[in-house]
C-alpha cells in the first residue's frame, strides 16, 4: 500500500485526507451534541458522529467493527435514543430545561481539561510502533470461522445472554400482561 510509487503516495494522501475529514466530522458532531439547543438535533448529531466513527474503523481496516458500528450504534442505539426522547416529557425539547446540571459548566470544564491533559500526556509518552505483518484482507471471514468452529460455546452463550436481555427488557418495561 505504501511505498514511493505515485500510486502509493496518492493512496497515502487519500487515506490521510479521509482520516482528517472523518475525524473532523466525528469531533464536530460530538461537539454539536452538547452544544445544540434542541435535544432531537443533538440525537441526530450523535448519529452523524457514530457514522464518522464507522468510517474511522474502516480506515483502520476493521471492516466488521465498522459494520457493527453502523448496524448497532447508528442503527439501533440511535433509535433507542430517539424513542427515549419521545417518551420523556420535555417542553419543546429545549436542552436547557432538560439539563439541571448545566450550571456546573465551570467545574465540569476544569475536570474535562485535566482529564484531557492526563490522556494527552500518556499518548505523547508512549512510542507508537505498528505491529508486525500486514492487516487481514477481510476480518469478517476469519471471524465467522472462529465463531463457528473454535468458539462455538461462547457463541451460544452469547445467544443466551441476548435471551436474558430480552426477557429482562420485557420484565423491566412492564410490557407483560401483569
Amino acid at each position: 500500500m505504501s511505498g514511493f510509487t505515485l500510486q502509493g503516495i496518492l493512496a497515502n494522501v487519500y487515506e490521510t485526507g479521509a482520516f482528517w475529514l472523518l475525524s473532523l466530522v466525528a469531533l464536530g458532531a460530538a461537539l454539536a451534541v452538547v452544544g445544540l439547543k434542541n435535544i432531537v438535533h443533538s440525537a441526530f448529531s450523535l448519529v452523524l458522529s457514530f457514522v464518522a466513527m464507522a468510517g474511522l474503523f474502516m480506515l483502520l481496516e476493521a471492516d466488521f467493527l465498522a459494520m457493527v458500528q453502523l448496524l448497532v450504534y447508528a442503527g439501533a442505539i440511535s433509535i433507542l435514543l430517539v424513542f427515549a426522547i419521545m417518551l420523556t416529557r420535555r417542553p419543546e425539547g429545549k436542552m436547557q430545561e432538560s439539563n439541571p446540571f448545566g450550571r456546573y459548566a465551570l467545574p465540569a470544564g476544569l475536570v474535562a481539561f485535566f482529564l484531557f491533559l492526563a490522556i494527552a500526556a500518556l499518548v505523547l509518552r508512549v512510542s507508537w510502533v505498528s505491529g508486525p505483518g500486514v492487516p487481514a484482507a477481510s476480518t469478517v471471514g476469519p471471524l465467522a470461522e472462529a465463531f463457528l468452529t473454535t468458539y462455538v460455546v461462547p457463541l451460544e452463550v452469547a445467544a443466551i445472554l441476548l435471551l436474558v436481555a430480552l426477557v429482562g427488557a420485557i420484565m423491566l418495561a412492564g410490557g407483560g400482561k401483569r
Binding site: 500500500m1 493512496a11 487519500y14 487515506e15 479521509a18 468510517g55 474502516m58 480506515l59 481496516e61 471492516d63 466488521f64 459494520m67 457493527v68 448496524l71 448497532v72 442503527g75 439501533a76 442505539i77 433509535i79 433507542l80 424513542f83 427515549a84 419521545m86 417518551l87 420523556t88 416529557r89 420535555r90 417542553p91 419543546e92 425539547g93 492487516p135 484482507a137 477481510s138 469478517v140 471471514g141 471471524l143 465467522a144 470461522e145 465463531f147 463457528l148 468452529t149 462455538v152 457463541l155 451460544e156 452469547a158 445467544a159 443466551i160 441476548l162 435471551l163 436481555a165 430480552l166 426477557v167 427488557a169 420485557i170 418495561a173 412492564g174 410490557g175 407483560g176 400482561k177
Partner: protein, 118 residues
C-alpha cells in the same frame, strides 16, 4: 481492502454533492417574494391543537429494546452469511441452535403480549 471502501466514499460525496447542487440551483433561480402565508410551516389538515411535543406511551420503549436485541443477533448472523458455503452443515446447525435460543425469547415476548400495539 481499503480501496473497496473508496467507492463508498465516492458514493457518499457524490450523493452529498447532488443534494447541495439541487438546493443551490434552486436558491439561484427561484423568485424571492415571501408572504406571510408562504412562510408559514406547511402542514396537512387542520391547525395543530395544543403543544406538538407530547409524551408518547412508555410501553413503546419495549419495541426499541426488542429491536436492539434482534439487531445484535444480526451482527452474529452476518459473518456466518458471508462464509455460509465454506462452513457447511455443522455451522448451519450451530446457527439453528443460536436462532432457536433467540426464538425462545421471541416466543416469550409474544406470550407476554409485548408485540401488541396498544
Amino acid at each position: 481492502m481499503l480501496h473497496h471502501f473508496a467507492a463508498v466514499a465516492v458514493f457518499l460525496l457524490a450523493g452529498l454533492a447532488v443534494g447541495i447542487a439541487a438546493l443551490a440551483v434552486a436558491w439561484v433561480v427561484r423568485p424571492k417574494r415571501p408572504t406571510l402565508l408562504k412562510l408559514s410551516t406547511y402542514e396537512c389538515g387542520l391547525p395543530t391543537q395544543g403543544p406538538t411535543w407530547v409524551q408518547f406511551k412508555s410501553g413503546y420503549f419495549l419495541f426499541a429494546l426488542l429491536f436492539l436485541v434482534f439487531d445484535v443477533e444480526t451482527v452474529f448472523l452476518y459473518p456466518w452469511a458471508v462464509k455460509f458455503k465454506a462452513l457447511g452443515l455443522f455451522a448451519f446447525l450451530e446457527m439453528v441452535v443460536f436462532i432457536g435460543i433467540l426464538l425462545l425469547g421471541w416466543w416469550y415476548a409474544w406470550k407476554e403480549g409485548a408485540f401488541e400495539w396498544k
